[in-house]
Each structure stands twice: as structure tokens, then as C-alpha cells.
Subunit: 231 residues, 2 copies
């Protein structure tokens, strides 16, 4: 018995994967509640180590809270710019890197590291697995939003300690992702940093290796290598 | 202009989200190359901080390498069992937690932390963002595999240092996920740990908060709260 999806089901899934974008420009209309509930439900059905479901989704519309987070972004971004030099710094300043205030909704996705107690199945020798589970929830959320026609942007230029203070997170709760959500004018055909020439997309075959890092035994993999190069 | 997908496209996407499972029992038939190429391409189209695409996918079929990794799993699992007590330990030993040797393919997804140089846009104050980008690629891979009818299991009970030694990873390359892939007899209707009563699925409304951790201002969110509770 095949568990493969139909061609039309596959097409819907792959469209989400290939048309998802990191968005920073939003329209002000609110996200309808049923849409938002579907997006959150998809996030909540991410895999989690030991089924601990360590995530919380803090939904933020309050403009005062968002103003504080925007100020924290500005401070972190000033520090970040200093790390680039010459033409790279000039180009960096032309990028819009967040939509904290103009998007109708922000979501901070957190990880409660001691949920269901100190010992979690599957996390005993890789303690970061709960953080990784939370990132899986972020990716589900991001893809589900695309399907619903909602843009998402991940703001990583902000210090975690400032986020925790502004949102009142307990010590065992870590902010993993700070997201801006909303309707958008368009989803760009490719990532903005690719279009701007900041970095190129790597060829798929360059990120696939065989048997070990040094990729010594490639002959057995000839057919797959051809498939990868044809993409 | 709406960017929302059609109902049939949405259905394909959500089916992948809700029917994806962590699989540990595999059939031996190989995964066809075109299928595997589509799964890897979906993974490679994950979001990445500063468009750095820090991932590599090491495909492992070699039985000697897999035997070594299985031995590393056994050692880590013996340590892990010691952390559970009484009935929990007895139940732990009944779970099948990996399919390293019987699956036709293992994939180690790694993160090259210095790809494209030491300073990466968006990673300057959250240095873990490259690891999180790699996890997004894992989640894309996992969902794409489900669409293709291929099961994936994430083996987290193995020490990263042992994986690095066995696969010959350079110091700046971190193993993020060790995955087993293959055809499966079935995708279970719910997570195995849920079915076994190890932990319950949390109600969606219990993992959504409003404005901050303490959720003080709930009135404005009444309609969304009802949507969440109806799921």
C-alpha cells in the first residue's frame, strides 16, 4: 500500500515550500480569527522531542509592547551594522529587516525548557532538542501562514534578554523566534537577499554529501547526483 | 489580491502537517532517486538567516557506518534509561526509538557555522540562528517525505561528538539531526508516545498567550480564544 499523496495534494504542499518568503512589508488589516487559529494549530502539530510540546505562542497586538521591541531591534541593529564594512555596510542599511510596528500581529514563539519535568525522553544527551522542536513549530507556522496568504517575517536582530524582560518570561522560558505576521502586497519570487545579490542560492548538489563529510564513495550515488544536478 | 491557496492546495498542505509522524519501523526497499531529490530540494528551500543556507545533507547507506552509529545509540540509550525510574523506566524500554540499521537510508543534517564567513546578516546577536535555520530544513524534509509516502524518524539519543567522529565532520560543522528514512507499513493515526499514554497532547488554547507571558489582557482576544477551544 502506497502512502504517497495524490499529485494535487503534493502540488499544494510544494507550492507552500517554494513560495514561502521572509516578509517585512505588511498591510494593516487584521488576520481573521479562524485563519489565525488554523495557523496556530498547524504549528502545534509540529514534532517534539519526547512529545513534550515545549512551545508557547505569545500573540502581541499591543502597540506599547511592540514599540519597546522595536526600540530593542534598533539598538541591536546599530550594533550589527558596525560589524559590516564598506560597501557591505552601505548595502546592509538599505535592507528592511523587520515589520514589528506595521504588521497587525507579532508572535513570540517560546520554549519552556522544563515542561513536563526535568527528564525528557530523547533529550537526555542532546539538551537542545526542545529548542529544535520549537523551531519545527515555527516552520509549520510559517508554511501554514503562506497557505493562508499571510506573510511572516522572523526578526532575529534583537537580544533575547530584552525580549524576555519586555514579555515577562520566566527564567526557564526562552524566546526562540520573534515573528511579524500580516497580509502582504506580494510574495517575492525569490528571497530578497538573493535578488539583491547579497548571497547566491547554493546549487542543490553542493549541499548533498555521501556516506561521510569527505564524500569519498560517490559512484554508487551516480543516479541521485544526476537527479540533483537536473534541479 | 488574495494570496490564499485554493481549498485543494490547502488540503494537501494540512494533510502533510497532521499526518506526519516520527517513524521507527521501516521496510527495506530503497527510496527512488527522483523521490529523494524532491525531498532534498524541499529541505534546501527552507528559510535561512542571512540566506546563508548553512546545511549539508549527508546521505548514509553504508552498513558499517550505520553499525557504528547504532552502537553509539545503544551506549547513549543505556545512559538515558538510567535517568528514568520504576514504571517509567520499564515503559521506556518498550519503546523502539530508532531504525538506523533497518531503514534503507540515514541522513545526517549538519550546520556549517562559518559558511560565507564569520559575520552573517541576522545572526550577529542570536548566534544560534544558523542552527535554527538548519532545523527549518529538517522540518521541510520531514513534511516533504510524508507527502512522498516516506517515513522519517529523528534519532536524538546519540552524542553529537560521536556522530562527528564517525562522519568525519570538521570542527565548525555541527550535526543537528540524525534521520532514518524509508517506506513504512503505516503512518500511525497519532504520535506513539501519545497512544502509549507517555504524555498527553496539550489543548491548543493552553499554549497560546496574549500580549505577554502572564496573559493579562484576554478580553480583546475573546473570538480567537473561542476558535482555539473549538479545535
Amino acid at each position: 500500500m502506497s502512502h504517497e499523496f495524490s499529485e494535487s495534494e503534493k502540488a499544494g504542499f510544494y507550492r507552500a515550500v517554494f513560495e514561502r518568503r521572509d516578509c517585512r512589508r505588511f498591510r494593516p488589516e487584521p488576520i481573521p480569527e479562524p485563519t489565525l487559529a488554523r495557523i496556530l494549530e498547524a504549528a502545534h502539530h509540529a514534532p517534539s522531542v519526547g512529545f513534550m510540546q515545549p512551545w508557547d505562542f505569545i500573540l502581541i497586538r499591543d502597540s506599547l509592547i511592540r514599540e519597546k521591541i522595536h526600540q530593542a531591534f534598533l539598538r541591536a541593529n546599530d550594533e550589527a551594522q558596525e560589524l559590516f564594512e564598506g560597501e557591505r555596510r552601505r548595502q546592509y542599511t538599505t535592507f528592511k529587516l523587520e515589520g514589528i510596528r506595521e504588521s497587525p500581529l507579532n508572535i513570540c514563539v517560546t520554549c519552556q525548557r522544563d515542561r513536563f519535568g526535568p527528564v525528557v525522553l530523547g533529550k537526555t544527551c542532546q539538551p537542545e532538542m526542545d529548542l529544535y522542536s520549537t523551531v519545527c513549530a515555527v516552520q509549520n507556522l510559517w508554511l501554514a501562514a503562506r497557505v493562508e496568504g499571510i506573510g511572516v517575517g522572523w526578526v532575529s536582530i534583537v537580544h533575547a534578554g530584552e525580549l524576555s524582560a519586555i514579555l515577562g518570561l520566566p527564567p526557564q522560558v526562552v524566546p526562540v523566534a520573534y515573528l511579524c505576521l500580516g497580509h502582504v502586497e506580494k510574495f517575492a519570487p525569490e528571497p530578497e537577499l538573493q535578488t539583491a545579490g547579497w548571497l547566491p542560492r547554493l546549487p542543490l548538489q553542493d549541499v548533498v554529501r555521501f556516506e561521510n563529510w569527505e564524500s569519498s564513495s560517490q559512484n554508487e550515488w551516480q543516479r541521485l547526483r544526476q537527479e540533483l544536478e537536473n534541479r
